[in-house]
Symmetry: C2
Subunit: 327 residues, 2 copies
C-alpha cells in the first residue's frame, strides 16, 4: 500500500509552498482562483487527506450553513433544498439539513444547535412568525436569511415569491379568455400565501367592469376538498382559480361529475406547477422555487464574507403563467 | 442586556455539577435520560451557548453525518432524507446534505469533504457502482451505509427494498384477478431496480400454467413513454405491470385512447406509490422509503458507537401492494 500523501507532497506536485496549500485548505479566499483549482486537483489526484490539525476548527466550522425547513418530503421545500445545496456546493460550504417536521420545539433546538456549532449562518423557512427567536440567533452572530417570507431589510435578508402578482396573473388570464364570473377556491385565511393570492385575484378583477369574483375557503388544500367545493355550488361560474394545484385537480373532477367541459364550459387555473399539474394538463402559476434556495445562500454568504460591505436585501421573485389545457 | 449565562449558572439551576453539564453537551450517552432532559431544558431557558472550548472538536465533529444523494428534488430521495433527518435528530446528530446532482465528480468531492471534515459516517445512495471509491472512504475511518443498494455484509451495512418481491406481488395480484397475458412495461436493463422488478414478475408468472409474460422496454420512465408503449401494441394484453407509476399513468391514457376500459378490459399495476398514484387511483407497490432512511442512520450509528460490538447487516425491506381502482 502506498504511503499516504503529506502536505509537502501536495505542495511539490502543485509547484506551490506548503503555506499556500494550507491557505487553500483554510482560507481559500486569500488564494487566487486558478491556484486553488490546481491545488485542489492535486489533492484529489494524490488522495491527500489533511491532518485534523491542518484544517483548523475555524475553517471547518466557518464552512457550514444550516438549512431549516418544515418538511423535506414536501416537493416545494425539497426544491428549495436543491437550489440551496447547489449554491452551497458552488461556494464550498457544507449544508446542514435541519428538518423541523412542523414542530416549533424541534425548530428551536436546531437553531440552538447551529449557534452551538458556530455555523456560518442559516437559511430558515420559519414555522412560526416569532421574530424574537430568530433575532436571538442573529444577535449570537449567526447571520440568517428567511426564505418564503419577507421581512424588513433592517432585520436582515429574505427571499420570497410575489404571490399577489401570481394571483393577478391567474385571474387576468381567465378574464382575457372571456370569463366574467370567477370563483376562487382558496385555503384558509391564516396562510399568508393564500391571502396574498386572493388579494392578487381581486386586484385583477377590479380592473374590469362587470366582473364578479367569489371565494370559497376549502377545509384543506387537497384534491378531495376541491371536488367537494364544486359539488356544493348552485350555479357554475365561467372560471375557477384555485390557490394550489391539488385543489385544481379536484375542481376539474367535480366539474366532470357535473357534466361540465373544461375549458369549454368552465376554465380552471391552478397554482404551483407541481408534478400533478403536468399530469392533469393544468394551466397554472409557476414559482421559481430552486432560485429561491440558491438566492438565499448567495445573500447569506454575501453577509458572511462581505461583512460591513453587505447590505440587507428583500429579494422578491416573480411567478409566471404556464398555459396548458384547462384555461 | 442580561449577562450571558455561563456553564456554572446552568449547573446551579439544574442542580447538577459542571461536569454533568459538560457531559450532557459532549457525551450525553453517559448521563441518564432524565438528567439530560432537565439540563437541556435549563440550557434553553437560560439561553446558554457553550463556549467553543466547552464543546470539544471531537464532540462537534463526531456528531455530524453525511447524506449523499443523487437528487434531493426527486420525491424518493426526499423521503429517504426525511427518514434520515428524523433518525439523526433523535440521536442528536447533525445531517450534512450532499446533493450530487447526478454528477459522479461532485459525489466524489462530497465524499472527500466528509473525510476531511472527519464526519462520524455517511449514508450514501451511490450514483455509480464503483466500490473502490466507497471502500476508500471506509479505509479512511468514515463508516458508510449504502442506501437503496445491497452489498455483502463483509463490506458494511446496507438498506434496500426487495424489488424482486415487489414485482412478484404486482404480477401475482394481476393473475389472481384472472389475467393470463401480462405485459411488463419496464425501464432500461441497466437500472438494477428494473431488472429486479422484472425478475419478480417472471417468478410469479412461472408459478401458473398458461400464462404469457412479455416485456417492452420504454426509453424513459415517463407518462409519455407509457402512452407511446400502448400505441405501438398490436393486441392488448389482459393486464399491464409498469415498473414505475409515471409509466402506469401513461399506459392508462394509452388504453383510454384505444377505447379500452381500465380495469374492465385491461388491468394495470404501477410501482412506487408516488403522489400521482393516488391522483390516478392506481393500484401500485408501496416501498417503505422513509424507513429506509431511518434504518440507514440507525445502522450507521450502531457502527459508530458500538465499535467492535457492531455486526454489519444488509437490511432488506418488504414492499406492499396498495389496491386502488386500476387492478
Amino acid at each position: 500500500m502506498r504511503r499516504p500523501a503529506r502536505i509537502q507532497d501536495v505542495a511539490a506536485a502543485a509547484g506551490v509552498s506548503v503555506t499556500t496549500v494550507s491557505n487553500v485548505l483554510n482560507r481559500p479566499e486569500r488564494v487566487n482562483a486558478r491556484t486553488v483549482e490546481r491545488v485542489r486537483s492535486v489533492i484529489a489526484d494524490l488522495d491527500y487527506v489533511p491532518h485534523p490539525g491542518a484544517v483548523g476548527l475555524r475553517a471547518v466550522h466557518a464552512r457550514s450553513i444550516g438549512l431549516v425547513l418544515p418538511d423535506i418530503a414536501n416537493s416545494f421545500y425539497a426544491r428549495i433544498a436543491k437550489g440551496a445545496a447547489d449554491a452551497a456546493y458552488r461556494q464550498g460550504y457544507a449544508l446542514s439539513l435541519c428538518h423541523s417536521d412542523d414542530d416549533p420545539a424541534r425548530e428551536q433546538e436546531y437553531l440552538s444547535m447551529l449557534v452551538e456549532q458556530r455555523a456560518s449562518g442559516a437559511v430558515v423557512v420559519p414555522l412560526s412568525a416569532d421574530p424574537g427567536r430568530l433575532e436571538r440567533l442573529r444577535r449570537r452572530g449567526v447571520p440568517l436569511v428567511l426564505a418564503d417570507r419577507t421581512r424588513a431589510t433592517e432585520e436582515g435578508c429574505s427571499v420570497s415569491v410575489d404571490d399577489v402578482a401570481g394571483g393577478t396573473l391567474a385571474v387576468r388570464h381567465l378574464l382575457e379568455g372571456g370569463a366574467r364570473s370567477v370563483l376562487v377556491v382558496n385555503g384558509t385565511r391564516g396562510i399568508r400565501q393564500c391571502a396574498d393570492r386572493y388579494q392578487g385575484a381581486r386586484q385583477a378583477a377590479r380592473r374590469l367592469r362587470g366582473v364578479t369574483l367569489e371565494q370559497i375557503v376549502a377545509e384543506r388544500m387537497t384534491v378531495e376538498c376541491g371536488t367537494e367545493a364544486v359539488r356544493r355550488l348552485e350555479t357554475l361560474p365561467d372560471a375557477v382559480f384555485c390557490t394550489n394545484d391539488f385543489l385544481a385537480v379536484g375542481v376539474c373532477r367535480g366539474l366532470a361529475e357535473r357534466g361540465a367541459d373544461v375549458p369549454g364550459d368552465v376554465r380552471v387555473v391552478g397554482y404551483g406547477d407541481l408534478d400533478v399539474a403536468g399530469l392533469a394538463a393544468l394551466t397554472t402559476i409557476r414559482q421559481p422555487v430552486e432560485e429561491l434556495g440558491s438566492a438565499a445562500i448567495e445573500l447569506l454568504l454575501d453577509e458572511v464574507e462581505a461583512g460591513a460591505d453587505h447590505a440587507h436585501e428583500a429579494r422578491v421573485f416573480a411567478p409566471s403563467l404556464v398555459v396548458r389545457e384547462t384555461a
